[in-house]
């Protein structure tokens, strides 16, 4: 059990980021990140489901015996996603028309089962909720960066269609950064997704390595007599 909340936040956003560190959930990631807006929609919908499933799994953890936990978690997640799908379709229909494409994809997101298994089934409800939220936000962040990069290279825009997802107040996000740009098609196609993901993973490693190096340097400078 852990209730080290700053640690949970750091893990979710960076250290154990679903995509950048755990390299999970690549199917929906590669499929939807052709624009930053799509990445944002997928990320937010996943975050909602992740918080719900983590909360449920953590509150039921005492009764779910280890031998049958995986099928039970799968049932919980699939039911949750289906209920969210129906409720959005019925009562938030405009949002559903935009997000609807992503919601069915969430069922196959292994990161959700991964968090249920690795964290929520061993921790108290508040910690599990926070973990779900942070893992979801970390996932969203990675998707938006990937989508933004691919969109910029592929069609020269950023956040195209954001006002449909978030409401007309967010139309200012929609930028056409390179006017008259015909687009680098590869970036939008699936191979572009793999290339972007590779660059992103390498980028995270580089930042981590540099941070570690700086930490080592300051450590040796502060204690020169130890060397």
């Amino acid at each position: 059990m852990t209730s080290d909340y700053p640690r949970i936040i750091r893990d979710g956003l960076w250290d154990s980021n679903v995509i950048l560190a755990q390299v999970l959930a690549l199917c929906p990631t590669l499929a939807v990140t052709s624009t930053a807006t799509n990445g944002l929609g997928m990320g937010l919908a996943t975050t909602a489901v992740l918080v719900g499933s983590n909360g449920l799994v953590a509150s039921l953890r005492r009764w779910v015996s280890p031998q049958v936990r995986i099928p039970v978690f799968v049932i919980i997640i699939a039911s949750l996603v289906t209920l969210v799908d129906m409720a959005l379709n019925a009562w938030l229909h405009e949002l559903y028309k935009v997000l609807g494409l992503f919601i069915a994809l969430i069922v196959v997101n292994c990161a959700i089962l991964g968090r249920a298994e690795a964290f929520a089934s061993r921790n108290r409800v508040p910690a599990a909720l926070l973990d779900g939220l942070m893992m979801g936000l970390g996932f969203t962040l990675a998707l938006v960066v990937m989508g933004g990069f691919r969109e910029l290279l592929g069609s020269g825009t950023l956040f195209a269609g954001a006002s449909q997802l978030l409401g007309p107040g967010f139309a200012f996000l929609e930028l056409r950064l390179i006017p008259g740009y015909s687009g680098f098609l590869l970036a939008i196609l699936p191979p572009g997704g793999f290339l972007t993901l590779g660059l992103l993973l390498a980028g995270k490693r580089m930042i981590d390595a540099r941070v570690a190096q700086r930490r080592r340097l300051t450590a040796t400078q502060s204690s020169p007599s130890a060397a």
Partner: protein, 226 residues
């Protein structure tokens, strides 16, 4: 998971079977409940979507009835049902909207196709689809202008063998990275136009508005020639 802190009964096969069965039953019950709770609202939303799409493909100035109210059931060459909605002004059919289905990259694409009595396209809109976000979803009027290029086209314009996407030797653009979605849409529109030609006489007979508001069987009466 810490197995040693668990009560012994949780290790029994019966408990586990019961737990799994219980969860499956509970989940099933919840989903049935959710479905019952939302199905009316969803049907209503879909009806609203349909009315709104019909408004987009049949201009309001063309009719004074509610085209969504009295659909006519046709069947296409494969025997699948196709709904036709008729726009009336006075007692004259001024437009017909057909609900046709195309098949894209990720399954069915539901379209509504608006035609004037001569068989020219007034407008086409996508009602529902599951095409790839950012690629195939450009067929949606909310995401791109592509679907408007069909306005004013008919079965002879372009000629029948040119009714396809450019990759197939037709006149309609595909999108960068997505050929299958536009191909499905173009094919569905062409089939809709052929269906209209086949059933034109029946479609242009105005529906008889009965007391139930269901003018299903058109009584034979001289149809106005457009």
């Amino acid at each position: 998971m810490n197995t040693d802190t668990r009560p012994a009964y949780q290790g029994h096969l019966g408990y586990q079977a019961g737990l799994l069965g219980g969860f499956a039953t509970l989940a099933g019950a919840l989903l049935v409940g959710g479905h019952l709770l939302t199905q009316d609202a969803i049907a209503l939303r879909l009806q609203e979507d349909l009315s709104r799409s019909l408004e987009q493909v049949i201009p309001a100035r063309l009719h004074d009835n509610d085209p969504a109210a009295s659909p006519l059931e046709l069947s296409d060459s494969d025997g699948a049902p196709v709904r036709a909605y008729r726009a009336l002004r006075g007692h004259e059919v001024t437009g017909v909207a057909l609900r046709v289905t195309g098949y894209g990259y990720a399954g069915a694409i539901d379209l509504v196709l608006g035609l004037d009595p001569a068989g020219r396209i007034l407008g086409v809109r996508v009602l529902a689809h599951k095409e790839t976000p950012g690629l195939g979803d450009q067929i949606d009027a909310a995401k791109g202008d592509w679907i408007r290029h069909f306005d004013g086209k008919s079965l002879g314009d372009p000629p029948a063998d040119r009714w396809g996407v450019k990759r197939d030797g037709g006149v309609f653009d595909q999108f960068a990275g997505a050929t299958i979605s536009p191909r499905g849409v173009v094919k569905a529109i062409k089939e809709g136009l052929m269906l209209f030609r086949e059933h034109r006489a029946a479609l242009l007979v105005p529906p008889v508005v009965t007391t139930q508001g269901q003018g299903r069987d058109p009584r034979p009466r001289p149809s106005p020639t457009p």
